[in-house]
């Protein structure tokens, strides 16, 4: 196994271990119930739906919408502070190593396909969509589109997030007869979104992370200042572009080692023939 593959599988093992740790309420998967303990006070760093039967923590994006949309609060300082703290320490390292939905997309992309799509016309522009989704669906709509009691819905979770369908929806519906009878157009819509995400993940590397994920949008802002960062030794670098060619997020580490789109997967570090990239 070459250096690149060794690093990649090491990363996948850590992703899987973390996903297992944060979804360790295994009895929930068997009984179709969710964990109801105090640990759910705490947010996990990755996109992990709290309605996943195994989840022992809370999704920070879900938590943010829950607080913003509650009748007695107008902003979620707890979730925002948590995201700022994690982002400032690790940036998008979380996306590359600690997000269960990132792992799912990583594995889906390993499925062979006639032509894998690296970049395309409009790719750069489309990547800004995640910031729009963050501001509109996670912050503004739950804040202003409220009912008579002043409560807003978690619009991102409800209309966009396929992680909830995959991690929670499918299993809970499978195990609960009463939930099956309540299925409607929303479940159909979310299933379509999930199928589209799964299909695109085979063709494009991490399409949800690149274009949609509001969590990735938050962490990307902190990537340039995060404590955990990449450094390129300009004296060692030969300018061969091996790092840029291997990057599935289409980042050139020599131009910007801490680019907002870098998920710190480490592929560039493994590919560098002179070990000029360090963290």
């Amino acid at each position: 196994m070459d250096n690149k593959n060794k690093n990649e599988w090491k990363r996948h093992r850590i992703q899987a271990l973390w996903a297992l740790l944060t979804n360790s309420y295994l009895v929930g998967f068997v009984q179709g119930k969710i964990y109801r303990g105090k640990l759910k006070n705490l947010c996990v760093p990755g996109l992990n739906c709290y309605s996943c039967p195994g989840a022992v923590g809370s999704c920070p994006i879900g938590a943010m919408q829950a607080v913003i949309g509650s009748w007695n609060f107008r902003f979620a300082f707890y979730a925002a502070g948590f995201l700022m703290f994690v982002g400032a320490l690790a940036g998008r390292f979380v996306c590359g190593w600690l997000c269960p939905f990132g792992l799912v997309q990583d594995l889906l992309h390993k499925i062979p396909f006639v032509k894998k799509i690296g970049t395309f016309k409009g790719d750069r522009l489309l990547r800004r969509l995640k910031y729009v989704i963050l501001f509109v669906f996670v912050i503004l709509l739950p804040m202003f589109l409220v009912d008579v009691l002043g409560q807003g819905l978690p619009y991102f979770c409800k209309y966009i997030c396929p992680a909830g369908t995959l991690e929670g929806g499918i299993l809970l519906v499978l195990f609960n007869k009463s939930m099956r009878s309540a299925l409607g157009w929303l479940y159909a819509w979310k299933s379509v979104l999930l199928i589209v995400t799964v299909t695109l993940s085979v063709m494009i590397y991490r399409p949800f992370c690149k274009y949609i994920c509001p969590l990735g949008a938050v962490y990307s802002v902190f990537n340039p200042i995060s404590v955990f960062r990449y450094r390129v030794d300009k004296e060692k670098c030969t300018g061969c572009s091996a790092c840029a060619k291997v990057c599935k997020m289409q980042v050139d580490p020599v131009k910007n080692a801490n680019h907002p789109e870098c998920v710190r997967c480490g592929a560039c570090k493994s590919a560098c023939p002179v070990k000029a990239i360090t963290s």
Binding site: A79, G81, M179
Partner: protein, 49 residues
């Protein structure tokens, strides 16, 4: 200027600020709202309604 903003020191400062903001949120009781939402099945999240 951009060197200051993009340095690891800025990261440490942002992490400390994040902790303070998080603490403020906890003090005003936001955790209760999170727990309340998280211990019940979120119907919107799973696509029921």
């Amino acid at each position: 200027m951009s060197r200051i903003f993009c340095s690891p020191r800025a990261g440490i400062a942002a992490a400390v600020l994040g902790l303070l903001i998080m603490g403020f949120g906890i003090c005003r009781g936001e955790m209760t709202v999170v727990l309340e939402k998280a211990v019940n099945i979120c119907m919107e999240c799973v696509g029921i309604g």
